[in-house]
C-alpha cells in the first residue's frame, strides 16, 4: 500500500503556486496550517479572466440571487463559500478566506459583494486544480482501513473529521454518517463514497 501511495501523493502535491493553500504540504506541525498562508494578500481579482459561457453566467446569477437575503443584489462575504459549494465547487473555508485577503470576522459578516464581483472569485476557485474524484475519496479513506477489508471504523473517522483539517462538529458528523455504520460500527467506504457522490 505504501509504495502506491507514494506514487500518487506527489502528483497531487504538484499544484501551481497560485492555487489556494494546499493541505498536503508538509507543514512544520500537525496543527492546521495557518503558517502556509502568512500575511496573504488577496488574489488579484481584477486580473482574473472570466471564462464562463453566457449560459453559465445566467445559472450562477440565479444561485446568487437565491442567497441574497437582504434584497440589495449582494451577498455577504461569509456566504461566498456556500454559494460556490452550491454551484458544485469544493473550496475549504480557508481557500475562500485567502482569496478574499483573510478578512476579519467582522468583515466576513458585514462586507457584501455584487454579482459582478463574485464572478472572478468563482473563476479563481474553479481554476485551482483541487478536483477530487471517486478514487481520491476511496484512496483517502483506505488509509484507515487497518485490516484491508474494505471497511473503516466509524469511530476513527469521527475522530479524524473532528480534529483535523477544517474540523466538523458533532452534529455535522452525525448528519454525514447517518445510516452508514453497521452494527459493529464499521463503514464500507466504497459504498460510503458512492453514497456521498450520488447527491
Amino acid at each position: 500500500m505504501a509504495p502506491k501511495k507514494d506514487v500518487k501523493a506527489p502528483v497531487k502535491k504538484a499544484e501551481p503556486a497560485a492555487a489556494p493553500a494546499k493541505k498536503a504540504e508538509p507543514a512544520a506541525a500537525p496543527a492546521p496550517a495557518p503558517a502556509a498562508a502568512p500575511a496573504a494578500k488577496a488574489v488579484d481579482l481584477s486580473a482574473v479572466k472570466i471564462e464562463f459561457s453566457a449560459d453559465q453566467i445566467e445559472d450562477y446569477k440565479e444561485a446568487f440571487g437565491l442567497f441574497d437575503r437582504v434584497g440589495d443584489n449582494k451577498v455577504a462575504y461569509n456566504q461566498i463559500a456556500d454559494i460556490m459549494r452550491a454551484l458544485g465547487q469544493n473550496p475549504t473555508n480557508k481557500d475562500v478566506s485567502k482569496m478574499l485577503g483573510n478578512p476579519s470576522a467582522e468583515d466576513m459578516a458585514n462586507k457584501r459583494v455584487v454579482f459582478e464581483g463574485f464572478l472572478p472569485m468563482l473563476q479563481t476557485i474553479i481554476n485551482s486544480p483541487n478536483k477530487a474524484g471517486f478514487e481520491d475519496y476511496v484512496e483517502g479513506l483506505r488509509v484507515f482501513d487497518k485490516e484491508g477489508n474494505g471497511t473503516v471504523m466509524g469511530a476513527e473517522l469521527r475522530i479524524v473529521l473532528s480534529t483535523l483539517g477544517e474540523k466538523m462538529n458533532e452534529t455535522e458528523i452525525d448528519a454525514l454518517m447517518a445510516g452508514q455504520e453497521d452494527e459493529n460500527g464499521c463503514i464500507n467506504y466504497e459504498a460510503f463514497v458512492k453514497h456521498i457522490m450520488s447527491v
Partner: protein, 729 residues
C-alpha cells in the same frame, strides 16, 4: 521507510482524507440548503398568490355588487356574502344560537359539556380530540354562545402582565393542525392559572382540524378568561375561509348545523381582540404594522364591525326597522336603508396606497360589457364615477345618507387591515403588500419609529411560515412566530412557541410534529418537500399551457419547436410571475434530453402531466382555464351554494358560468355550458354536486405516478428506468 516518515506519511494522508470529506460535506450542505430555499420559495409564492387571487375575487364580486342593477340574477347569487348582520339585535342572535332544541342522541360517544366549562372538561376535550372524537353540534353551539358573550366584553387590545413570576407562553399560526397544538400542550402544559397563553391568530384553514382547535381554545378561554388570550388573524375571516378549507371542513363535519355554526363564527371572529400587550412593553399581533399604525386609534374602534377585514364597515343606521337574520337577498336592494358599500376603493388622498387598492377594481371595468337586459349590466354611472376614482353611488338611493363610508371609517379599516395582513421587509420604508393583496410591507425604520412612539420594546407577530418556526428581524425588535410545523409538507419546517418571563427576554422552543419526520435525515426530508413542491409547480405550469406556448412561440420565430434554455426560463417567468429560479429547476421540470441545450416545448408539456379521467370531451381551452382557476371556481360554487348543501341547481350553475366567464375573461357559449352541465349532472336530477364537479378536473401528475410505481418496486427492481415509458405505471 523509517518510523518518522511513516508517521508523517500516514498523518498527511489522513489529513488529506479528512479535508476531502469535509469539503465534500460542506458542499452537500450548501446544495441541500439551496434546494430547500427554492422549494420554500415555490410553496410560499403559490400560497401568497392564492391569497391574492382570493382578494381579487372578492374585489371583483364587490365591484359587481356596487354596479349591478338590483334585479340581476347574478347579483342575487353573490349578494348574500355581503349581507351585513350588524343591524340585528342581540336578542335575535341569542335565539339564533339556540341549541336547546338539539338533542344529543344516546349513541353519541363524543365528549359532553356542562356549562360553565371547567378545567377538567377542557382537558377532556383535548383528550377526546386526540382520540379523534367529534364534539356534538349542540355543545358546539352552546360553547360558541358562551364564547361570544365573553368576547364582547373584552377590549380591542388585551393588556397582561408577567407579575408573580409568571411566564407567558405565546403561540403563532396553528392553521387547523391539531397535532401541533397537542404537542405544545404536551411539552408546555395546558393553560392554567399558572400558565397563561396568548394565541396569535390563524387558528383555522388549511389543516383538517380547525374546528377542534377553535373548540379547545374557546373552552380554555372560558375556563381561564384572564390567563388565555386570543388575537384575531387574517384567516379568522369567512371570506378567506371559503377558499382555504375551513368552511368546507365545518360543513362536512356538521352536516345539519354547519351553516349555523359558520354564521356564528363569523360574528365571533369579528369580536376577537386585535392585539395583546405584555407589561406595556411587548406587543403581540398577527400580521404587523404600517407607518400609520396607531394603537390609540385601534383601542377605540368598534372591532366587531369588521366581520371580514377585507371590507370597510357598514355605516350604522338611525332607522329602527330591523331585518331578520335570514332576510332575503331581494330586500337588500329595495330597502333605501341599505347603502352600497365601497369595496377596496379609497379616497385619493391616501396617495399610492389608494391607487394600489383601486387597481384591482380598475382591472374589471373593461371586462364587463353592457349587454341585453338579461345579461350582466353595468351601471354606467358607477363605471364613470369609478374611473374618476370616486366611490360608486347607489343609483336611486336616498341622497341624504352618506353615500360612502366616511373617511374616518376608512382610516380605521386601513388600521385593521394593516394589523392583520402586513409583513416585515428588510429595506426601510412602507409599501403596499402586493403579493398578498392586503396590508403592507414595513421596514426597520418604521419599527423603530413605532416602538419609540408607543414606548414598546418588541413586536411579536406571526402570519409567515418560517423554516425554524421563528425568525428575528429588524435588529431583533420584531419576532415572527409560526406554530404549524410541516406546514407546506412533511418535514418542511418546524413550529415554535415563545416563553416570556418578567425579564421580557423571549425564550423560543421548537418542535416538529409527526413521528415520521424524526426518522428522516435532512436530505430525505428536503427531498420529500422538494418533490411535493415540484408536483405543485408542475400542475401550475400545466394549467398555463396556452399562455406558455404563446410565449414560447414568440421567442421561436422560425417555429422550430425549440427554444434555448435562457428563452425558456424568461418565457416561463413572464407567464407564471412566481420569481423562481427556473434555470435551476429546469432539470427537475424538463427532463427530456435537449439537443444542443435547446428545449422542445411541445414535448415538454407531454411529460408534465396528464388529465383526469372524464375530461376528454370538454373543450381544451375551457379545461385549461378551469385547471388554472380550480380554486376560484370552487370558491364561487361555494358562494353560490347559499344553503351550504354541497349542491347547486342547474340554473344557478348556468348563472355561475356567466359570472366566471366575465371574471376569467374566457369566451364560453351557451352550448359549452350545457355540455358541461349535462356531463356533470350524471344522475340527471337537475343539481350539480360540487365535489363531483371538481373531481372531473383533477390533474394527475405523471411524475408522481411513476414514483408511486417506483416505491412499490423499491425492494426488488434494479433497473427502474424501464418503467419510465410504461403507460400502465
Amino acid at each position: 521507510m523509517d518510523g518518522w516518515n511513516t508517521f508523517f506519511f500516514f498523518f498527511f494522508t489522513a489529513l488529506r482524507a479528512a479535508v476531502l470529506i469535509q469539503k465534500w460535506y460542506r458542499q452537500y450542505v450548501a446544495r441541500t440548503e439551496m434546494r430547500r430555499r427554492y422549494t420554500w420559495h415555490i410553496f410560499q409564492s403559490i400560497e401568497y398568490s392564492g391569497e391574492q387571487a382570493q382578494i381579487k375575487l372578492y374585489n371583483f364580486l364587490g365591484y359587481l355588487m356596487d354596479n349591478f342593477t338590483p334585479s340581476s340574477n347574478e347579483r342575487n347569487l353573490i349578494s348574500h356574502i355581503f349581507r351585513d348582520h350588524e343591524v340585528c339585535q342581540d336578542a335575535e342572535w341569542e335565539r339564533y344560537f339556540c341549541y336547546k332544541n338539539i338533542q344529543v342522541p344516546e349513541i353519541y360517544s363524543g365528549p359532553h359539556l356542562c356549562f360553565p366549562v371547567t378545567a377538567e372538561q377542557a382537558a377532556g376535550l383535548v383528550e377526546a380530540f386526540r382520540n379523534k372524537k367529534q364534539l356534538h353540534s349542540r355543545y358546539v353551539l352552546q360553547l360558541l354562545l358562551e364564547t361570544w358573550r365573553l368576547l364582547r366584553m373584552l377590549p380591542n387590545i388585551s393588556r397582561i402582565s408577567t407579575c408573580h413570576s409568571k411566564e407567558i407562553t405565546i403561540c403563532g399560526d396553528l392553521h387547523g393542525q391539531l397535532e401541533d397544538l397537542l404537542l405544545i400542550f404536551y411539552k408546555n402544559g395546558m393553560p392554567s392559572l399558572e400558565k397563561p397563553y396568548v394565541f396569535n391568530g390563524d387558528f383555522v384553514d388549511r389543516g383538517k382540524d380547525s374546528i377542534e382547535i377553535l373548540i379547545i381554545l374557546f373552552a380554555f378561554l372560558l375556563v381561564y378568561p384572564t390567563e388565555v388570550h386570543l388575537n384575531r388573524g387574517n384567516h379568522e375571516d369567512h371570506i378567506i375561509n371559503l377558499r382555504y378549507g375551513f368552511t368546507k371542513e365545518v360543513l362536512t363535519k356538521y352536516k345539519m348545523h354547519g351553516k349555523r355554526i359558520l354564521k356564528l363564527l363569523q360574528k365571533i371572529f369579528s369580536w376577537l381582540p386585535l392585539a395583546t400587550v405584555i407589561d406595556q412593553k411587548v406587543l403581540i399581533l398577527h400580521g404587523g404594522i404600517s407607518d400609520t399604525t396607531d394603537l390609540g386609534l385601534l383601542v377605540k374602534v368598534d372591532r366587531h364591525n369588521y366581520v371580514s377585514a377585507l371590507r370597510p364597515p357598514k355605516k350604522k343606521f338611525q332607522s329602527s326597522s330591523r331585518t331578520s337574520i335570514d332576510s332575503n337577498a331581494e330586500d337588500w336592494g329595495h330597502h333605501g336603508l341599505f347603502q352600497r358599500r365601497a369595496s377596496f376603493t379609497c379616497p385619493k388622498n391616501l396617495g399610492s396606497r389608494g391607487n394600489f387598492l383601486n387597481r384591482s377594481l380598475q382591472d374589471f371595468s373593461d371586462r364587463i360589457k353592457v349587454g341585453k337586459e338579461d345579461e350582466l349590466q353595468v351601471c354606467q354611472q358607477g363605471a364613470e364615477l369609478f374611473q374618476a376614482g370616486v366611490d360608486p353611488v347607489e343609483k336611486g338611493g336616498d341622497s341624504s345618507f352618506d353615500p360612502v363610508v366616511s373617511d374616518s371609517a376608512k382610516e380605521e379599516w386601513k388600521q385593521i387591515l394593516d394589523l392583520l395582513w402586513s409583513d416585515p421587509m428588510s429595506q426601510d420604508g412602507c409599501i403596499p403588500n402586493e403579493l398578498r393583496g392586503g396590508g403592507c410591507y414595513w421596514g426597520p425604520d418604521v419599527t423603530e419609529d413605532f416602538l419609540g412612539r408607543h414606548n414598546l420594546q418588541l413586536i411579536i407577530r406571526s402570519h409567515e411560515c418560517k423554516q425554524d418556526g421563528y425568525e428575528f428581524c429588524h435588529n431583533r425588535k420584531v419576532l415572527t412566530l409560526f406554530s404549524a410545523s410541516n406546514y407546506y409538507d412533511v418535514g418542511s419546517n418546524r413550529g415554535a412557541y415563545v416563553k416570556l418571563g418578567p425579564n421580557l427576554v423571549p425564550y423560543v422552543v421548537q418542535y416538529q410534529a409527526s413521528s415520521m419526520t424524526r426518522e428522516l435525515t435532512v436530505r430525505q426530508s428536503v427531498g420529500k418537500t422538494e418533490r411535493s413542491a415540484l408536483k405543485v409547480l408542475r400542475e401550475q405550469l400545466f394549467s398555463h399551457k396556452s399562455d406558455l406556448i404563446c410565449a414560447f412561440k414568440r421567442l421561436d420565430g422560425e417555429n422550430t419547436g425549440l427554444v434555448s434554455l435562457n428563452d425558456w426560463a424568461s418565457a416561463v417567468e413572464s407567464v407564471m410571475r412566481l420569481g423562481l429560479p427556473w434555470r435551476m429547476l429546469r432539470s427537475q421540470l424538463a427532463t427530456g434530453k435537449a439537443a444542443d441545450g435547446l428545449i422542445n416545448y411541445h414535448e415538454w408539456f407531454n411529460e408534465l402531466a396528464i388529465k383526469g379521467a372524464n375530461a376528454d370531451h370538454i373543450d381544451q381551452g375551457l379545461l385549461e382555464t378551469l385547471y388554472r382557476h380550480r380554486s376560484t371556481v370552487e370558491t364561487i360554487f361555494r358562494i353560490v351554494d347559499t344553503d351550504n348543501s354541497g349542491f347547486i341547481t342547474m340554473e344557478d350553475f348556468r348563472q355561475t358560468w356567466k359570472l366566471l366567464s366575465v371574471y376569467l375573461k374566457m369566451e364560453i357559449t351557451e352550448d359549452a355550458i350545457s355540455d358541461l352541465a349535462v356531463t356533470i349532472d350524471s344522475n340527471q336530477d337537475g343539481s350539480i354536486d360540487i365535489e363531483e364537479f371538481m373531481e372531473a378536473f383533477r390533474l394527475t401528475d405523471k411524475k408522481s405516478r411513476l414514483e408511486r410505481g417506483r416505491s412499490m418496486f423499491m425492494a426488488t427492481a434494479t433497473d427502474l428506468s424501464a418503467l419510465e415509458g410504461d403507460p400502465n405505471v
